[in-house]
């Protein structure tokens, strides 16, 4: 049993997953991830670099991945905005890497030390063009450890940048935990990759190990060569990846369901907000309100099947989040009228208290049958 901070858990989870390269630029509330990586990596033969900014931090992580490393960077909102260009580059070049964003109040420099969940949509749509955007989040120190390790595994399987969203409270919070052992996912060997194309649905093979290739952000086909008329190939590869993610949705989607079986009001929450929602469920149940909680760890790809399944059973899904209504848009799109979807947002740098969420759920319950305008 150890007392560990959220950011420390991220670093330990990365190390357990085989991370051997970190490039970053310090920013509250993510700085401790960098400090820990600076301690951990050199001691085990890895590489740690403090870069001049966040653009170069992702660029270095991408280069390191192509050099054979398992690479990570971490930042907060202002840095995450700067990273978008290269996150898109990592997506286009199918480069496995992990990007952690500990969310603080925004926009701009905002509230450096206070929590927010304002980058949920940015994680999905922040860089231009179409891409998938596997995005995970955590609501406890232990899950911050597990989710970070999982991000490495998913980035390897789908050879995409995977984003881990934390927030200022979880990053700095300490809990006593027993950290489970984690085995890094094995990487494809050069020999097995020899006869396969370097891009598309083929496994990731670093420079110098597989075929000769080029890595470019320009449109290219499975061979990697840029082609003026490469649009069709880009769309084909993207659709194929989307299809794989849809097929694997039940394995990719991690969540915790709490008292949902017979619920009429489902709280759909993620990250630190799920902690308050958990307590709200207990309070509501004591008053006889059949409330339950879906605590999502996988935010993107959106778990349509799961949310639709719940929407069939409940009257209302209430979506508390530390923004003025982001993820609720995706929930509404998935639910498509199967039940009411009610947003509950705040962006003032405070957490929702359990009572605030419970009060909103009570209101929803009282207004049952009426129309609630989002």
């Amino acid at each position: 049993m150890r007392l560990i901070q959220g950011n420390e858990a991220v670093a330990l989870g990365a190390a357990a997953a085989g991370c051997d390269f970190y490039a970053g630029y310090p920013i509250t509330p993510a700085t401790e991830i960098m400090e820990q990586m600076a301690r951990i990596l050199p001691a085990r033969g890895g590489v740690f670099i403090q870069m001049e900014d966040e653009l170069s931090a992702v660029a270095a992580a991408i280069g390191a991945a192509w050099g054979g490393a398992r690479a990570m960077t971490a930042t907060s909102g202002p840095g995450f905005s700067l990273m978008q260009e290269h996150i898109g580059y990592a997506a286009m070049t199918q480069t496995p890497c992990v990007i952690v964003d500990s969310q603080r109040g925004g926009p701009s420099t905002g509230l450096p030390t206070l929590p927010a969940q304002g980058e949920v949509m940015q994680a999905r749509f922040g860089s231009h063009g179409d891409r998938v955007a596997i995005t995970l989040t955590a609501s406890s120190v232990l899950s911050a450890y597990e989710v970070t390790a999982r991000a490495f595994a998913l980035s390897e399987t789908y050879r995409q940048p995977v984003i881990v969203l934390l927030d200022a409270v979880l990053s700095h919070m300490r809990e006593n935990v027993d950290l489970p052992e984690i085995t890094p996912v094995p990487r494809e060997t050069a020999a097995s990759a020899q006869d396969r194309q370097p891009f598309g649905d083929n496994p990731f093979v670093p420079f110098g190990e597989g075929r000769r290739t080029v890595v470019t952000g320009l449109a290219h086909d499975e061979s990697g060569l840029p082609k003026t008329a490469g649009g069709k190939a880009v769309e084909r590869m993207l659709r194929s990846l989307e299809e794989r993610l849809r097929h694997d949705a039940r394995e990719i989607t991690h969540f915790q369901a709490y008292r949902l079986e017979d619920a009429s009001v489902a709280l759909l929450a993620y990250g630190i907000t799920a902690r308050a929602a958990h307590e709200a469920v207990d309070a509501l149940r004591q008053e006889g309100v059949a409330a339950g909680l879906l605590d999502l760890q996988t935010l993107w790809p959106f778990p349509d099947y799961l949310v639709q399944e719940i929407a069939e059973r409940v009257d209302t899904i209430l979506v508390p989040e530390l923004n003025l209504g982001q993820y609720v848009i995706a929930v509404q799109a998935a639910v498509q009228g199967r039940c009411r979807v009610v947003p509950l947002g705040r962006a003032d740098g405070d957490l929702f208290t359990p009572e605030e969420i419970a009060a909103a759920a009570r209101e929803v319950q009282d207004a049952k049958g009426g129309i609630v305008h989002a």
Binding site: M1, L3, T28, L111, P112, T113, L114, V169, H172, M173, R174, E175, N176, I272, R275, A276, H278, E279, D282, L351, T353, P354
Partner: protein
């Protein structure tokens, strides 16, 4: 009998070691075999401003990590008292650095010469350890042995001797309050 869950709020100026004190308290509670969550809140400034660190200690899983109504409050500065120190649960304990009374004569709580005690030990910096030890002596929030162990674990070796002295001085201050009660 210790409340379960027990909610503790430590507060003061940024730079007074509030977060380290919270971390040591949480670690001591862990040594006592309990579940803990420690959170912190401070502004963008490197020093000063009002800072707080909260610890929830329980025999069960802890969902909401922050403290809305503390059972125990320790406060080192006027600004922190005005921002964080005014609320406490019924039967709760508030320990205040006594100089707060100069600015807030009607401040509610037990006042102790925490800062003067730290200065007498040679460094005002150990105020956090003096205060935390006094709080533990008054309330038995965690065992003294566990707090000693947590201090040893979390403190840099070069500052350990001074801080152990601060810990014992804080225990003595707290005992005086406890016997007064």
């Amino acid at each position: 009998m210790r409340k379960d869950p027990l909610r503790v709020r430590l507060s003061g100026r940024g730079g007074q070691g509030i977060i380290l004190a919270g971390t040591m308290l949480a670690e001591a509670a862990m040594q006592d075999g309990l579940k803990v969550v420690q959170t912190q809140s401070y502004g963008p400034e490197a020093r000063l401003g009002a800072s707080k660190s909260e610890v929830v200690i329980s025999s069960r899983d802890i969902a909401f990590p922050e403290v809305l109504m503390p059972d125990l409050v320790l406060c080192f500065s006027r600004e922190a008292y005005q921002k964080f120190g005014r609320h406490v649960s019924p039967g709760g304990v508030v320990l205040l650095e006594q100089s707060i009374l100069k600015d807030v004569p009607d401040a509610q709580g037990q006042t102790l010469p925490l800062r003067d005690t730290a200065r007498e030990l040679g460094k005002e910096l150990v105020l956090n350890v003096v205060g935390l030890a006094a709080l533990v002596a008054v309330t038995e929030a965690v065992s003294r042995e566990s707090l000693r162990a947590a201090l040893t674990h979390r403190m840099k070796a070069e500052f350990l001797e001074l801080n152990v002295a601060a810990l014992e001085a804080g225990f003595a201050l707290g005992e005086a309050v406890a016997s007064r009660a």
